[in-house]
């Protein structure tokens, strides 16, 4: 009796497993995505990976917060500088007031977007500092550093274009100054300033132009670059902290440097022994 229930139970379990596995296998067979995910999750990273290495994914999280809150804001925000005669303010400014003061949790969405921008920029700089201090921009990761600098520039441009959208005094005059500064650049400057303004004066055309750059072009480019960035991170692996006793890739058999200062951070002899010990 006991035996029959056990076999029946395990038969049911087998059926259940097959039902769960079927869609997974189906997807894997047709796309290889499951294998990719498995590779991503279970790939080896250096054993001395530490909290400094979380700054990149923290930057990613901040960017995703911007993307998500931005999509919600775009449902209510109106990129329109036309003054509404009933209220005496522009549609853009009115929609910002409406989002902040009236909509359920609108303040949270706008507040997170507004402050998330600063957090994103700070994390970008921190992540860049960690890459610099670890010497992680060196071979073979040069390209990822260059993609990173591009991301930094695009991130700051997101800040510049987004700052205008509330169409308040701060926004307007910061942009007047910002665009005029672009205009001082030799040769290209005046063209750039004209392009950004969308005319001779800063007005409705500037607003819709900034809005389009802010929510289509720049975020699109940033998403694509992040994808490339992460692809390279996974392909090349992350750098061990340079001070680590077991930094991956260190040549422990390297001759101690001639000036005899090798013992300063890396007592010679012992580490060579370690590595050789691990090899045998």
């Amino acid at each position: 009796m006991a035996v029959t229930t056990r076999t029946r139970k395990s038969a049911r379990r087998r059926q259940l497993e097959a039902a769960i596995n079927y869609p997974i296998d189906w997807l894997e067979e047709r796309s290889g995505l499951i294998g990719g995910l498995r590779y991503f999750l279970f790939r080896k990273v250096p054993g001395d990976t530490n909290w400094f290495h979380t700054l990149g994914s923290a930057t990613l999280t901040a960017f995703l917060v911007q993307a998500l809150t931005g999509v919600i804001l775009a449902m209510y925000y109106q990129p329109d500088a036309t003054v509404n005669p009933a209220t005496g303010t522009s549609a853009a400014y009115g929609s910002i007031q409406h989002i902040t003061n009236d909509l359920t949790l609108g303040w949270l969405v706008r507040g997170m977007h507004k402050w998330g921008a600063s957090v994103f920029i700070i994390l970008l700089f921190f992540h860049m500092a960690r890459v610099f201090l670890f010497g992680a921009y060196k071979y073979p990761r040069e390209l990822n550093w260059i993609i990173g600098v591009t991301l930094l520039v695009f991130g700051m441009l997101e800040g510049f274009t987004g700052y205008l959208l509330p169409w308040d005094q701060t926004a307007y005059w910061a942009t007047v100054v910002g665009i005029n500064l672009n205009g001082t650049a030799p040769i290209l400057g005046p063209f750039l300033a004209d392009f950004l303004r969308g005319g001779a004066e800063i007005g409705g055309d500037t607003l819709s132009r900034f809005y389009s750059l802010h929510m289509l072009l720049l975020p699109g480019a940033i998403f694509a670059l992040i994808g490339l960035h992460l692809y390279l991170v996974i392909r090349l692996g992350v750098t061990s902290p340079p001070w680590s006793r077991e930094a991956a890739g260190t040549d422990w058999n390297e001759k101690p440097s001639e000036n005899g200062r090798s013992g300063l951070t890396q007592p010679s002899g012992r580490s060579a022994w370690r590595r050789n010990g691990a090899d045998t």
Binding site: F40, V45, V119, A136, I202, A248
Partner: protein, 275 residues
Amino acid sequence: MATTDEWRRQHQRYKEDVKRRGKPFYPYAMFHDTVMSLVVVSVIIGLAAVWYYTSGEDPKTCGSGDSCLLGPRYSEPADPATTNFVPRPDWYFYFLFYLLRIFKWPDSVILGTVGIPTVMLIIAFALPFLDRRMERRLTRRPVAIVAAILVVISMGELTYKGAIAKEALASEVVQAVPSWAQRQGFANNAEAVAGAKIFASSGCTACHTYLGTGSSNQGAPDLSAEATRGKSKQQLMAYIRDPSQFGNNIMPKFGFSDQQLSQLAAFLLASKGPK
């Protein structure tokens, strides 16, 4: 400087080391990443909450009714005409913004607006090709360390200066008009006094200084003795009407009426410098 072969061997060693002694991304690194991301999201929510709950619907109540710890919800609606403004970018542009004050218009301002930022950006992009040594330990990278410290100190200093730089508010500047009139001796010249009021309330002092009021921003000159520069009233009016016609792409076109332009010019021509 390492040869390409040395680099390749080094990376090969890296891959072998990671394979042998590394640990899987999940759950180890992923755990740290998740904790950090939760901290980031909490900080963002926290900032949003402090910002919202210390401010009110009316931007004017900041400082009186509301503490506005993190600033108002928005400032007053954009108004190209009143120009009662404090032009100030978001904080992460302060370093650029302050850089501009160091250079004087028009001779060297390009250094601040384009020159230095472009050079810094090129160095940033080119870094992996400028530093080609294999060494990664900080104690053995003195140049990198000194450069990093200098960059952090100068960016920090410029950001801080940009943050505390005080732009006089137009409402405060207008209070100074009677004292200007007295010190420059144009108190009896009604047109000049009217011009001084326009000058004080239109935000000119965000960039120009006048008898110690205002801030010299983006290299704009002091105007206390503009009359001594030998420009005619017509020339001054034409310049203020559209500065870009005269190669000045920084100063905005304010859209003054002919009467306002005439008053402003009268004010400038009455500004011969304090005795």
